[in-house]
């Protein structure tokens, strides 16, 4: 590193670049690799049950598992159609 950039700090340090890249890729991979096996199955069954009562399609139900520290949150998001059919 040259004397000038030493004083003015123009160049971003590679370690912080590494940290930034890693935090992105790790967050992404945790989401995809660590999703429990039962999630797709759960999603299918939820659709089957809910569509008995409400007209929902496979894309209207989102099942997600989030992890915050020691707490896992299972998030089930169901979008109901504007006029539910009986």
């Amino acid at each position: 590193m040259s004397l000038l950039s030493y004083f003015f700090g123009t160049k971003q340090k590679t370690a912080s670049v590494a940290k930034e890249r890693l935090s992105l890729i790790i967050a992404h991979e945790r989401g995809t690799n660590r999703a429990p096996d039962f999630l797709p199955e759960l999603q299918r069954e939820l659709i089957a049950v809910i569509s008995k009562y409400v007209n929902v399609g496979p894309d209207d139900i989102k099942v997600q598992l989030e992890k915050q520290d020691n707490c896992e949150i299972l998030e089930v998001n169901i979008t109901l159609p504007e006029q539910p059919q009986r």
């Binding site: 590193m1 370690a15 890693l22 890729i25 790790i26 991979e29």
Partner: protein
């Protein structure tokens, strides 16, 4: 039942075997009856690092297959009274390792009065690595402050949390420890290397120690002496601290700060 500790990392060459050798030696020096098992079937190496390569007669696969018993296969360490080495097979492939076989060996070690069993995992996430962590009670995840190593450590943590017996049976999870190795405080100071805090923040695992980058590790492996035995070596001291923290003793981190040179040197001496 002996307490089973896996030393794992995902990536190769980060210091798993060096760490397994020093951790097992350190525990034995503290008076615990300890066995260290090489799970790298096909690429045996722990015997060289422990300096017992010429005394290998039987190996882990022989015991798993019932071709030898544990008493015949275990090699007594040349330095420590309470330390025994179970080498990997060189002639078989990793498929020779079965879950039942490994479980049987671990149970028998428990019956023989072992306090700790250290499982030296092979690199990768294949069968050998999974077998090494399956029965773990605790895991020491070895990581270098470098992108590919940290990413692979995160992968292996995911496998620990899904494929270990403790995870499968819904018991208390495997106790995880992060060990950062090949650490260079100067490069961290210069912004060229991830700090141990960065690595810990990324992996979110409690830190058990930081091992400085050192020529001593090569010196130790050249001689077949675990690094923890070296006299006047920062690496040996750092591993002794790891053992102390493992045994719940309080030890502040050492070898993680770089002494800055004076102002004149910084102005004219560049880096």
């Amino acid at each position: 039942m002996a307490r089973v500790i896996v030393v794992t990392s995902g990536k190769g060459g980060v210091g798993k075997t060096t760490t397994s050798a020093s951790i097992s030696t350190g525990l034995a020096l503290r008076g615990y009856k300890t066995a260290v098992i090489d799970f790298d079937v096909g690429l045996r190496n722990l015997d060289l690092i422990m300096g017992c390569e010429r005394r290998v007669v039987y190996d882990l696969i022989n015991v798993v297959n019932g071709e030898a018993n544990l008493h015949q296969a275990l090699i007594k360490d040349k330095h420590c009274e309470n330390l025994f080495i179970l080498p990997a097979s060189q002639t078989r492939d990793k498929d020779a390792l079965t879950e039942e076989g490994v479980e049987k060996v671990l149970k028998e070690l428990g019956h023989m009065g072992f306090d700790y069993v250290i499982c030296d995992s092979p690199a990768g996430i294949e069968r050998g690595a999974v077998m090494a962590l399956t029965f773990a009670d605790e895991a020491i995840v070895v990581s270098n402050p470098e992108v590919s190593s940290v990413r692979d450590s995160d992968r292996i943590l995911g496998i620990l949390q899904s494929k270990s017996r403790r995870a499968m049976e819904g018991r208390e999870p495997v106790k995880e420890h992060l060990l950062v190795t090949r650490y260079s405080p100067k490069r961290v100071e210069d912004g060229e290397m991830l700090s141990y805090k960065d690595v810990q923040e990324l992996l979110r695992v409690p830190l058990i120690g930081v091992i400085p980058e050192s020529d001593d590790v090569l010196q130790a492996s050249n001689q077949g002496t675990p690094a923890i035995h070296l006299k006047d070596s920062d690496v040996a001291t750092a591993y002794q601290d790891v053992i102390a923290r493992f045994l719940d003793e309080d030890r502040p981190l050492r070898f993680v700060t770089y002494e800055k040179p004076g102002l004149l040197k910084r102005l004219f001496g560049g880096k």
